[in-house]
């Protein structure tokens, strides 16, 4: 394991190059280029904000910030995992011909996504200023929440990546599951619009803890309750450990499943 980590560090240039390549290529030949990174989620946000604050009215003050915070947290996990799931299969030509530690592929995907997410969160801060949300010391918890999101989504990506190599349906299944989970997670609606009898189910939804961890400092201007943070932390540690060890044990054999 120690050797594995040392090797990953030796390949850091490759990691950086792959991440930059992905960022660079995504919008090459497009007029607005990198702006799309922000524009895409922003339009999504505006549509949702319009629908749920004007048409279906939730009793939430400053709904836009509420929604933006939830969406930022959600996208950090959903986009990262959806994209990274295919990372090994998308690079199979390379993997079959040159030796590189396979971890660089999902990890570079995760990195490039978090560059996007970081930009989006900066825009969120801009929105907070515009909508006169409170800037408090509790915002210092935001980086901690991002780190939790990072390791959780990385770990989850590793699990789906390994599964996707064996069965190529996994990527589609993951996409569908995320669509369902989006509505099962309090991203667009506040927790209290949910009838009481459904609320216990939320406790089984891991994404709930991450959304809340992120939303508390941004929207409620307070630190999230310790119970929430600890659950999110436990989920992160377990998911990451399982994903990392699974990937580490299996990566030698990926080549047999690629063509």
């Amino acid at each position: 394991m120690k050797r594995y980590l040392r090797e990953l560090i030796q390949y850091r240039d490759l990691l950086v190059n792959l991440t930059l390549t992905e960022l660079k290529l995504r919008y090459r030949n497009s007029v607005l280029g990198f702006l799309w990174t922000i524009l895409n989620p922003l339009f999504y946000l505006l549509v949702l904000a319009f629908v749920f604050s004007r048409i279906i009215k939730f009793e939430v003050p400053n709904y836009t910030i509420f929604l933006f915070a939830g969406l930022a947290s959600w996208l950090m996990i959903q986009q990262t995992v959806t994209i990274a799931t295919a990372s090994i299969v998308n690079n199979q030509a390379l993997i079959r011909r040159v030796y590189v530690p396979k971890m660089v592929f999902p990890l570079s995907n995760v990195f490039s996504r978090y560059v996007d997410h970081a930009i989006l969160i900066l825009v969120l801060f801009g929105f907070m200023a515009v909508f006169k949300a409170a800037f408090t010391w509790s915002l210092l918890f935001v980086p901690v929440a991002i780190v939790l999101h990072f390791f959780f989504s990385w770990g989850l990506s590793l699990i789906t990546t390994v599964a996707h190599i064996r069965i190529r349906d996994v990527q589609h299944v993951v996409a569908i599951l995320f669509q369902i989970l989006f509505y099962a997670t309090p991203v667009i609606y506040p927790l209290d619009v949910l009838p009481l009898r459904y609320r216990p189910f939320l406790l089984w939804n891991p994404f709930y803890y991450f959304v809340e961890c992120f939303r508390f400092p941004v929207f409620h201007s307070s630190l999230p309750p310790g119970r929430l943070v600890l659950t999110a932390l436990a989920l992160t540690v377990v998911t990451f450990a399982v994903g990392f060890i699974l990937f580490y044990k299996k990566e030698k054999f990926f080549v047999f499943h690629l063509s």
């Binding site: 030796q10 390949y11 240039d13 390379l94 030796y99 069965i167 190529r168 030698k252």
Partner: protein, 412 residues
Amino acid sequence: MEKTLIKTESAGVKYFLNYEEGAAAAPRGTIRTLLERKKRKEFWALRDVSLEIRSGEIFGVIGSNGAGKSTLLKAVAGIIPVTEGEISVDGTIAPLIELGAAFNQELTGAENIYLSGSIYRIPRKTIRENFDKIVDFSGLRRFIHTPVKNYSSGMFIRLAFSIVIFFKPDVVLIDEVFSVGDAVFQQRSFEKMLFFKERGAAIVLVTHDLNLISQICGRALVLSRGKASFLGKAEEAINHYLKLIKSREGLEEDARRPEPVAVAAAEDSRRWGTRKVEIVGVDFVDEKGNRKNVFATGDYFEARLSYVSHEAGVKAVFGAAFNTIYKMLIYGPNTLESDFPDSLPERGTVRFVVPRLPLFEGDYLFSASVYDPGLTVAYDHHEMMYFFRVVSRGGRDFGCVRIDSRWEIVSG
């Protein structure tokens, strides 16, 4: 200085055949393939190979198709894990297995130089310092900011090779690299290889070109069906290999055995057609009808193409072709040029006879095919799937084919 750089101890690689079959037979992921996963065949592509290769050594690996040469190289490169035994490599590896594999099609040449560099673990600084030299060596300065997807295959390889040259590998693995590119490129790669050797690198060379092995390799390994059949001086290894392919066993291995797993994709790309008429076997024989695949220049040569027609009275054209191992076409005749019956018996053997083989010493690839009379629909095409060797009878001329000619002098 004479350090052991590559060491393998009873290394073996086992494949499960149906990983590939499953993909070909049914779309991956159907319930059926899931259920059938259990029925998988084991196949040892490499077994019990023990070697030590030292610095400053050029080590040859020879063997028929599917003998495990590429598997050995990929196992040494760390691309394929060994199932049993151990392989250890000391130092940086330059795998010249498929040049340009590290490229991203969408990126420009310049961007790809940095990307490939990091794949081979060349420090960014080294690349930056050598960037101009790399570009100059490749001769692609005008196109260096063009995406490589717009490059010709020659440009592609030139750039890939130029990158590897400027990084100082301890171990160089070469799999038929000399079979790509033009003569100048081949010469350059050859020189570069000797240069690497001088610098104390260990070089492993896989090739069908026995001349090249005898010219530059000190020792060589003969692989046969995944096992080390001989390990020792290059000359002796070549003799051993020739004996092996002259014997029926060797021949069988060459022409008969379907390529296993790792090359299964290549197998498809070498054979295509509707199979309306199917070529079921190709044998090389001498005038007495004895099967062999080593001939001498000037010998009687005959290729027998056994076929089965799946429809009665089909009209078809048979073709044959000789290629050098560099895949250059030497000659490709077909039955349109001769008196050949219009419709075929349902099964039979087509004999392609060369009364006196004009080829010189070397290894050759042979293609056999059957097409419709308009030569537009391939019934069954076997592209360079067969291999034979020509040994010399002496003589003072050079080349790969003897052209009927004479010299004259006119005074004044």
